[in-house]
């Protein structure tokens, strides 16, 4: 069988099949599992990329029935039961699990991709870190007051957990971390503006925690603008709510959509590109194909709201599907209905501030932050990373310093934000490969 995607869902399926009588081929275009809940920390120079990522191969080293292929899936042939990739011969499957995840959605404004990067993978995080740090450097060099203000203005679009985390972290970076390092500017004169289309931030946390989050953000100096729609973004700023905001750095956290793979299958998808799946996570008419995680639209029977695009859903679906496949292979009856056990949600807002809903308990402030910290360290996937992240956090907490403040990824390190914004994405080679290796059948 084949699993597409090595995120929370795909890894959970694969690992849960450890003792099953199957051979799993996990296909991913990235060589590492990424602990996405801490990705914003990499973007804000708090953690190094290697601290929140682990090579998929290492994670599956001891699982003899699993193999990992670094390859990009181009097409799934549901009739021939084959997965096509750019790098290998077609992979035949008897069972297939689709867990390709999600990507940033710009709602028809793809021209905003380069001027307002989103945060989905390590490359995004390093690029955002580069832009944020370069903006402070450009402000330090600048003498024109308007230009300097523009460099020190950061706009975050979208008031969900990612947007709130980014906005809080920029304010914190400027106030605590960078404040003493510059000579010509006061980084704590930084403006951080969080633009959100709906009533408030973190609306999925309910009105009480949403209000607390808003309060915390404002206490940290973040200007929150609810009920505001963005009408344009360019290299020098944002237009929203009829106003023009000059800003060198604009970050996008306003929406995601399913990875494009789902929409290419010819099965029903919603407007965000998610595959509408059955109650057992299978695809309509294809009991041998499952879709889980952010790329699936799962509406529990009798309910109206689909499950949210969060990692616990993907992991629980992964384990459910793995168990179902294992039992089918053993010719045992298998469960027909996936039930999501909602253990709660949390979001951090800055140093010592967070909001959390755990079952019926609602927490905010320092205690929520401690809960958030412990949970994220416990869930980090390997021991070494837990130790390193703990040291880095303790270090940052007590010294107000950050170890990962590196500007990398460009030969010319000293471009102005204007230059950066002209930068195009990396060229993606789109050509056939030299040798097309044959990959095993992977029958269960």
């Amino acid at each position: 069988m084949v699993v597409i995607g090595g995120g929370f869902g795909g890894l959970a399926v694969t690992q849960a099949l450890k003792r099953a009588d199957v051979h799993v081929t996990l296909v991913d275009r990235s060589n590492h599992f990424l602990f996405t809940p801490l990705l914003y920390q990499v973007a804000m120079a708090g953690l190094a990329p290697a601290e929140i990522a682990s090579p998929t191969r290492s994670l599956l080293r001891h699982q003899a029935n699993a193999r990992v292929l670094l390859a990009e899936v181009t097409e799934v042939d549901l009739v021939a039961r084959e997965v096509h990739t750019r790098e290998t011969r077609p992979l035949a499957y008897d069972y297939l699990v689709l867990a390709p995840g999600s990507t940033n959605a710009y709602f028809g404004h793809d021209e905003w991709v380069n001027v307002a990067p989103g945060l989905k993978d390590l490359d995004d995080a390093v690029e955002i870190r580069r832009r944020v740090l370069l903006a402070f450097e450009a402000a330090e060099r600048e003498t024109d007051e308007a230009a300097r203000r523009r460099h020190l203005t950061f706009v975050v679009i979208g008031g969900g957990p990612t947007g709130v985390e980014l906005a809080g972290a920029i304010a914190e970076l400027a106030t605590f971390v960078l404040a003493r390092d510059f000579r010509s500017i006061r980084p704590d004169s930084t403006r951080v503006i969080l633009v959100e289309g709906s009533e408030s931030v973190l609306t999925s946390f309910g009105p009480e925690l949403s209000a607390r989050a808003l309060e915390s953000l404002r206490a940290m100096g973040v200007e929150v603008r609810p009920k505001t729609r963005v009408t344009n973004i360019d290299a020098r700023g944002v237009e929203c709510g009829g106003e023009r905001i000059d800003a060198s750095t604009v970050l996008w956290a306003a929406g995601v959509r399913a990875a494009p793979l789902g929409a290419s299958l010819g099965v029903p998808v919603d407007k965000q590109g998610r595959i509408v799946v059955e109650q057992d996570c299978s695809i309509p008419g294809h009991p041998e194909v499952f879709c889980i995680g952010d790329a699936a639209l799962f509406v529990p029977a009798g309910e109206e709201q689909p499950l949210p695009g969060v990692s616990p859903v993907a992991m629980q679906q992964g384990r459910f599907v793995a168990k179902k496949i294992a039992r089918q292979v053993d010719r045992q009856p298998s469960a027909q209905t996936f039930k999501y056990l909602d253990k709660g949600i949390m979001a951090t807002i800055g140093r010592s501030r967070a909001v959390a809903r755990i079952g019926r308990i609602r927490l905010s402030g320092f205690i929520a932050w401690i809960a958030w910290l412990l949970l994220h360290i416990v869930y980090l996937i390997d021991f070494r990373n837990r130790v390193l992240v703990l040291i880095d956090w303790a270090w940052s907490y007590f010294t107000y310093q950050r170890g990962s403040r590196l500007i990398t990824g460009h030969r010319l390190h000293a471009g102005t934000p204007g230059d950066q914004l002209d930068r195009q994405g990396e060229p993606v080679p789109d050509k056939p490969l030299n040798g097309l290796p044959r990959v095993g059948h992977d029958t269960a």
Copy 2:
């Protein structure tokens, strides 16, 4: 005064002027100090970039008479006493210290830059890491035996410390770290070939240690080819000594030359572009301008050999020049002759193997490796990095795992080495800046 370059030399000058009656502007195009002796560890996934780099601004945070500018120097006007940069207005100086360092030299074969990357900065290291890891991934997917062998063949050109460290580290990575992670290939069937034009490797360490290093490399399975000249390199291999070696990954460690800034000044330079400096490190005819480190050709009076391009020379020259300037500013007599105190040299060859010359003592094997380890941890520039590096080394040593095995930096993570080699360097925007800020006078 102005210091150009924030490496070992430039940082030493600046820090040694802490109590002097001067204002120092340190100009660098990178925002971090890089501990280059451990750069090969980043290239070989042993350490993360943030573990060997520290933001220059943080290092100089408490030095009130120093400021840091992230900018690329385009020209030095020795007559007008001004430094021109791409990003700022001209910087006037009374004293100037040039410490721009060195870059890879391809001896007229600039077409080899992309097929055989060198190792000079963090971007290089991450690119080499990407290529090496992708070669193993490509071998895992490959079914054609010749192509697979090509992916598992690594050629390192140059048998100096960097070449020896890289070759040893690749052999080690394949044998110890990756061996258990792959299913279709045996990474320990990897071939590592070290090509060197002269008699042997590490010739600067003297015949005895050179022979020991050769022995160690061969014991680790590295094929060393001394007295062999490279005649061609392309995307699929190397021609050397009349033979063709098919290899997906070729690394360049065969030579460096001074950064181009020196050659642009109109003062005498040697064929490696180094400025021929006086006994006090000043430039002929310009007692107010000094050049130190890799960009300087310093021949001690009465000797024939110039000082080698190693970090202790740069640091000692930096402190000498700082003291000289401080005394001149105080109208005190200053020393006329820089004397280099050679404390020794060391190079590591792999896990538990190194060679070292400390004064007249020659060490090799495990004891040299322990000395190397301790020294490098002690010299790491900040405490946090020392702790992190120590943990990472202990972790790698006892578990045979590496934490930094991430393939990043490309949207398409799964290209074959063939694709990588087509990749061009990042585009360098070459246009005037919007606002040219005025930067302070920096008079002493």
